[in-house]
């Protein structure tokens, strides 16, 4: 074993890449849950995004068009969920689980002929001056556009929720849909578009996975990333900034355990691979101990169907 061979700079650099797909998906889900909808289909929307992005960028030769396709794919899948839960008032948990299963199956079908292909490379966006700073430059300013874009989106969602009137309305709908309806907001419309936004972001996360992180298409390649994203939303107490912390901690553990595997630490590989998931569970349990829903900050109407009476 040679711990010295683990280079902190490389670890930080890699953890940002490992965290980005989860950050996208979690950010989308955060907004959806803020609007009072629990969409457990994140995993399914991610993998649809992964295959759509992969296939389109292989066909067109452009990663950027691929990313647009990934977002569209995720959003299109989420339309099914939105129609089922908002118009037919189907149970959100069951519909979300079904969406994940459907997404995984559909992605495998669509991706059949793309296994083993190589997507076009995306160029690094070496930020001028900043990227030349020693150590820090390599850690933080040597990434591709989509790493920075994910952080910009966190800023955007935070600003939207806390500073804009529409953001306040979204929160109001999630907090108490009966009150929001009584004042005269269209609960269904607001939730519908929130779900679409969540789907697009989950798709982007999936696209990042297949186009940059891995970059390759394999069946079931999301490997639970969607579920981790869901957990991180709870971990963040529905606050956008804390999502970055959650996603980067998870990304960090993933990269660290890979490094430990590489240098041959005397722990079973299965146990090491398990750590990110195990730590997510531990974090959630610790957060929920002795805390009411109020202090956790969960939206009041989360997961409840809005039934219009009048």
């Amino acid at each position: 074993m040679d711990f010295a061979s683990i280079d902190p700079t490389t670890i930080i650099y890699n953890l940002m890449i490992a965290a980005t797909p989860i950050l996208y998906a979690a950010l989308g889900e955060l907004l959806v849950e803020k609007a009072g909808v629990l969409n457990l289909g994140v995993e399914g929307m991610m993998i649809i995004g992964a295959i759509c992005g992969f296939a389109i960028s292989v066909e067109t030769g452009s990663s950027y068009i691929g990313f647009i396709a990934a977002a569209c794919g995720g959003a299109m899948l989420s339309v099914i969920f939105a129609v089922m839960t908002q118009y037919f008032l189907a149970n959100q948990v069951a519909s979300g689980l079904a969406l994940t299963l459907f997404g995984l199956g559909l992605a495998a079908l669509l991706g059949h002929s793309y296994t083993g292909q190589v997507p076009p490379q995306i160029s690094k966006l070496d930020l001028p001056i900043l990227s030349t700073i020693p150590v820090f430059g390599k850690m933080f300013f040597h990434h591709d556009f989509f790493v920075y874009f994910s952080l910009m989106l966190v800023l955007f969602v935070w600003y939207f929720l806390t500073k804009t009137r529409l953001g306040l309305v979204v929160q109001a709908v999630g907090e108490n849909h009966d009150s929001a309806h009584a004042i005269g907001y269209s609960v269904t419309t607001i939730r519908f578009f929130s779900i679409l936004f969540g789907g697009a972001l989950a798709g982007l996360g999936g696209g990042y996975l297949s186009l940059i992180r891995v970059p390759q298409w394999t069946e079931g390649m999301t490997a639970g990333a969607g579920w981790i994203a869901l957990a991180i939303v709870v971990f963040s107490s529905w606050r956008p900034w804390r999502l970055i912390l959650g996603a980067y901690i998870f990304g960090g553990i993933t990269i660290l355990q890979l490094n430990l595997q590489a240098i041959g630490v005397n722990i079973d590989i299965a146990l090491l691979s398990m750590t990110p998931y195990a730590i997510t569970i531990v974090a959630l349990v610790l957060m929920s101990v002795n805390k009411s829903k109020k202090s956790l900050g969960a939206p009041g109407s989360l997961g409840k169907s809005f039934i219009k009476v009048s």
């Binding site: 109001a172 907090e175 004042i183 009411s292």
Partner: protein
């Protein structure tokens, strides 16, 4: 054609039908400038439907409305607000986790900068005596403060017509006094107010004119100050309402003893119970008053056995029953009737007969070796239906198909027919029409005259004064010392209920 200038709103022959119920049947109504107009009626008389139509939440099937001389048919509440109609809901349309200012902002249609909004909120709250702190989180506020938010929200849009839906049902007497001052000030400044209530004395005190609805039809327009309460009550119900007969209280031995009970609420923004001590005797009704959210739900859950309590806090016949579950408590004659009828007291999708089984299977021996005795269960249900005058098809009707009053009569009947030694009822007559409410109160009084001890938790002060032997109040999860009801004056009760001098 020129309309009379003193008319603010004219409702002309408005009808609205739901499934097979005619909620509004050719309703016509005229609201005059700067008047407080009472809209009276029993539950289900069509008051809510009518005001929802005026506020744009419901579209009428037929009829028209004229607001300030112009045709008025709002598609949604935003349009109604823009035309100068504001509404304060009975169940507040507020968001617990947001601040007062955010809640107000959400109800406004025009764009406002947050600083000028804060100034305006402070301005209006001082002008009308509606004390509010804009940065507070709504979930931490009392019902009275929440109502002030709703009123300020309306006033910010300078309404010409303000609709108030049962505004005093959650207020303490002091808060009611403040509200009336505000409303009188508003009407003096030229705002018309449509005041919905079923509390007759209030209406007589506050309103200059009034309309009574029954079964969706306008029964009468009247002048409240010159009509007696019993005349109004008769018009509302359609027949004479009898008053309850109370036999002399014969309180005997202490049967239930709550000793220093403290418990943390399980719900967000719930109220923690603090050091509650209480002794209840056989043959008495102990009334517990208090505005909504003072800890009533939490207290009921500890008494039913749904929340477990610490050792040595809950004694029944000198035995510690703190860790008995609801079924075990029922078996020793300790029964409860929760407030929420559908989903807590009754299973909505089950028949009345099956609902009998839920609480009475042991006390009435409805099950033999784990098998249901259907004949016996059916007879028991029929007994209740007959004795408590429940208007239902038969004992196989689903609970959710009964009207609120009929289901409540059935559920109270189910508990009372099991010969309880202690019965705890939360909001016995909430959402129940006057005749059924009177029936339920009488049934409780009859039961107690045979030696049962009853705890009645209610937000209806008149009801508690009418039937309880001793009265106490829950305020922020603390309880005052019970007093003999007949020795209390209204202002003393007001003080007991007031949040201002209660420990926070």
């Amino acid at each position: 054609m020129k309309t009379n200038k003193s008319n603010v709103l004219q409702v002309i022959n408005v009808s609205k039908k739901y499934a097979n119920v005619l909620a509004n049947d050719e309703v016509s109504l005229t609201l005059n400038h700067a008047q407080i107009h009472a809209l009276l009626g029993e539950n289900g008389a069509g008051k809510s439907t009518l005001v929802k139509i005026i506020y744009g939440l419901v579209k009428p099937d037929r009829g028209k409305m004229i607001l300030n001389g112009q045709k008025y048919a709002p598609d949604n509440p935003q349009k109604a607000r823009m035309s100068g109609v504001g509404m304060v809901f009975q169940h507040f349309s507020l968001f617990d986790s947001l601040t007062v200012a955010q809640n107000i902002l959400l109800g406004l249609d025009k764009r406002q900068s947050s600083t000028s909004l804060l100034d305006k909120i402070v301005q209006i709250s001082t002008d009308y005596g509606l004390a509010l702190e804009p940065r507070m989180i709504v979930g931490d506020l009392s019902a009275g403060e929440r109502q002030r938010i709703e009123i300020v929200r309306c006033l910010l849009q300078n309404p010409k017509l303000l609709i108030m839906d049962e505004p005093t049902s959650v207020l303490t007497p002091t808060e009611i006094e403040q509200l009336f001052n505000t409303l009188n000030q508003l009407s003096a400044q030229g705002t018309s107010i449509l005041y919905i209530s079923h509390k007759l004395e209030e209406v007589r005190k506050l309103c200059g004119e009034g309309t009574i609805l029954r079964n969706g039809q306008v029964i009468k327009n009247f002048i409240p100050s010159t009509t007696t309460s019993s005349e109004i009550a008769e018009l509302m119900v359609g027949k004479k309402v009898q008053s309850t007969i109370k036999s002399k209280s014969r309180a005997k031995n202490i049967i239930l003893n709550i000793n220093n009970l403290s418990i943390d609420s399980r719900t967000p923004f719930g109220t923690n119970l603090k050091n509650i001590s209480l002794k209840v005797r056989q043959g008495e009704i102990l009334g517990i008053g208090g505005v909504a959210g003072s800890g009533q739900d939490e207290l009921l859950l500890t008494l039913t056995g749904e929340s477990k309590v610490k050792k040595n806090t809950l004694f029944y016949k000198n035995k510690d029953i703190g860790n008995l579950n609801p079924q075990e408590r029922r078996e020793i004659g300790f029964l409860t009737a929760p407030e929420e009828r559908l989903g807590h007291a009754a299973a909505p999708e089950m028949t009345l007969m099956e609902n009998c089984l839920i609480t009475a299977k042991k006390s009435k021996n409805l099950m033999v070796h784990g098998w249901i005795n259907f004949t016996k269960t059916g007879d028991f249900a029929n007994d209740i239906i007959k004795k408590f005058d429940v208007r239902a098809g038969d004992n196989k009707s689903l609970a959710k198909t009964l009207s609120g009053g009929n289901l409540q009569k059935f559920l109270i009947g189910r508990e009372l027919s099991q010969d309880p030694e202690v019965i705890i009822v939360n909001q016995p007559t909430w959402g129940v029409d006057a005749a059924a409410a009177q029936f339920i109160r009488q049934a409780l009084l009859n039961l107690v005259s045979h030696g049962t001890a009853a705890i009645i938790i209610s937000q209806d002060l008149d009801e508690l004064i009418e039937i309880s032997d001793r009265f106490t109040a829950l305020v922020n999860g603390s309880m005052s010392t019970p007093r003999i009801t007949t020795e209390l004056t209204v202002s003393e009760i007001g003080l007991m209920l007031s949040t201002e001098n209660a420990p926070k």
